[in-house]
C-alpha cells in the first residue's frame, strides 16, 4: 500500500481542479516576471546579466515554495479542523510515516508542476535557462521542504486565520528576502547572516547558479537537506500526537 493512496487522492483532486490550479500557479509568477522582470528590470543588469535572467530562478524557487506549502497547509488544515476528512486516514491501517511521506511528496509534486510552468514561461520570454538534473533535484528539494513546512503548520495551527498569519510571518518574508529579486549581498551584514539561515536563500542561489551553468554549491544541498530532515521529523512527531 505505502504512500500510494495519498498520492492517488491528490492526483484525482489535481485532475478535477486542473484549470484552477494551473491558472493559480500562473498568475503570481507571471505578474512578478512582468513587473520586476520586464517593467522594473528592463534596463537593469545584475552580476553582468539581464535582470530577467537573474530573477527567473528566484521566481522558480519562490513559486515551488509557495505552491508546495499552500497545497498542503491550507487543505490539510481544513481537513483536520473543519471537514475532518483527515480522520479517515488516521483510523485507516496506513502508517503515519507513509501518510506524512505521501502528503509531503504530493505537495512537492504540485510545487514542481508550478515550477515547470515558470520554466516554460521563461522560454516564452526568451530566457534560456540551463536546466539539468541538478536543477530539477534542487527544485524538488525546495518543494519537499516547504510541503513539509505546510504539513507541520497544518497540524499545529488551530484555525484558518492563524494559518494565514503563519504564511504572512514565515512564507511572505522569504519570498522577498531570500535572494529571489535581488542579490543577498546587497543587504546589511546582520540581515545577510539571518537570510543565509533560511532555506529559500539556498534554493534561489543554487538554482541561479545552475541556470547560469556554474554548477552548485554542496553547502546549498547540505542546508536544504538538513531543513528537510528537520521539518519531516517535526511533521511526523505531530501526526503521531494526533494518532493515540
Amino acid at each position: 500500500m505505502g504512500i500510494m493512496p495519498v498520492i492517488w487522492q491528490e492526483w484525482i483532486l489535481f485532475k478535477r481542479k486542473f484549470k484552477t490550479i494551473s491558472a493559480g500557479a500562473l498568475v503570481s509568477p507571471l505578474l512578478y516576471m512582468l513587473a520586476f522582470g520586464l517593467g522594473l528590470g528592463k534596463d537593469l543588469e545584475v552580476n553582468g546579466q539581464p535582470y530577467l535572467v537573474f530573477v527567473i530562478p528566484g521566481i522558480i524557487a519562490l513559486t515551488t515554495m509557495n505552491t508546495s506549502y499552500s497545497s498542503i497547509a491550507v487543505l490539510l488544515n481544513i481537513h483536520r479542523i473543519y471537514d475532518k476528512t483527515f480522520e479517515e486516514f488516521i483510523i485507516s491501517p496506513l502508517s503515519m510515516f507513509n501518510f506524512t511521506l505521501g502528503k509531503v511528496i504530493a505537495g512537492a509534486l504540485r510545487g514542481m508542476y508550478a515550477g515547470a510552468i515558470i520554466i516554460i514561461l521563461s522560454f516564452l520570454f526568451g530566457v534560456n535557462l540551463n536546466i539539468n538534473i541538478w536543477f530539477i533535484i534542487l527544485m524538488f528539494l525546495n518543494a519537499l521542504i516547504f510541503a513539509g513546512v505546510g504539513f507541520y503548520a497544518a497540524l499545529i495551527i488551530d484555525s484558518h486565520a492563524n494559518m494565514s498569519r503563519f504564511s504572512t510571518f514565515v512564507i511572505t518574508p522569504m519570498i522577498f528576502l531570500c535572494g529571489t529579486f535581488f542579490p543577498v549581498d546587497n543587504m546589511p551584514l546582520i540581515v545577510k547572516k539571518f537570510i543565509y539561515f533560511l532555506p529559500l536563500t539556498h534554493a534561489s542561489q543554487g538554482l541561479r547558479s545552475l541556470a547560469r551553468g556554474d554548477g552548485f554549491h554542496w553547502m546549498n544541498i547540505f542546508v536544504m537537506l538538513t531543513y528537510l530532515i528537520v521539518v519531516f521529523i517535526l511533521g511526523l512527531r505531530e501526526v503521531y500526537q494526533v494518532e493515540s
Binding site: D83, K84, P93
Partner: protein, 279 residues
Amino acid sequence: MIELKNISRKFADKYVVKNLNLKIKSGVFFGLLGPNGAGKTTTIRMMLTLLRPTGGKILIEGKDLKRNMIDYKRKLGLVAQHISLEKEMSARENLELHGRLHNLKKEKREKRIKELMDFVGLWKHRDKLIKQMSGGMKRRLMIARAIMHRPKILFMDEPTVGLDPASRRKIWDLLKDLNANGITIFMTTHYIEEAEILCEDIALMDEGEIIARGTPTELKSRVGRFVLEIFNNGKTEYKFFEKREKALDFANELGGNVMLRENTLEDVFIKLTDHGVGD
C-alpha cells in the same frame, strides 16, 4: 470483545471521562447515550485511536490496543457525526480511496464498490460529487464506506443526525441488516427512540461515568412503567408509577393539566441524569 479498563481523559484540569470500565461483547448492537458533555464523543474518539487516554487501557480480544494498532484499525469502521467525505471527489472515488487505504486489490475493490452502492441505493449516483449529494445520500455513503473493508466493529457517532424521518428509517434498516450479519455496532445518539429501536445493550453516561447499563427493557424497569406529566406554570414535572390505577388516582387528586402515558427510555434519562439528553 472490546474492554475499556479504567479509561480516563483529562482536558486541562477537568476529567471528561473518569475511570470508565466497559465491556462490549462481539456481535451486539451497543448504544452509548447521555447528555451533551457526558463524555460520549471523547470515549468513542479514544476507542478510535483519535485521542490518547490520560489513563487506563483499551483491550481488543484481551490484547492491548497500543500493541496491535494497525491490526485493530483493519477491524474498525467509522460513521462520524460530521460528513467526513471528500467534497471534491465523487461517491465512487470516496469509496475507492477507502478501499486503497485498506489495501483492497483492484478487482475486489471494484466488486465491493458496486455491491455496497447497490446496498445503500446509490449506484446510479456513483459519479456525483459529494457536494452535489443530499444529506441522506451522504450518510448512506458514509455507512457504505465504513463497512467496505468488512470491519468487525462499526463505530457510529450520531449516525442519523440532521436527517429526515424517511432517511433515518432507511439507515436503521441498513444498520439492523449489518448487525444481523455479525458486525458489532457501537453507537452514540441523541435520538432516544433510535437507541430504543436498534440497541440491545445500552449504557447511560453522565459526567464522564457510566451511571446505568442494560437492555432497553431493563433500563425502563428502573423507573415506574407509567409516567404522569404534570404541566404547571410553564414547567413539566414527571411522576413515575408502577400501576396505572395509582397514577390515575394521583392525577384525579391533582386535577389541572396532566397527561398519563407509558414510560420511554427518555424518561429513564431524565430521571437518572436529572437534566435529560441534549441539555
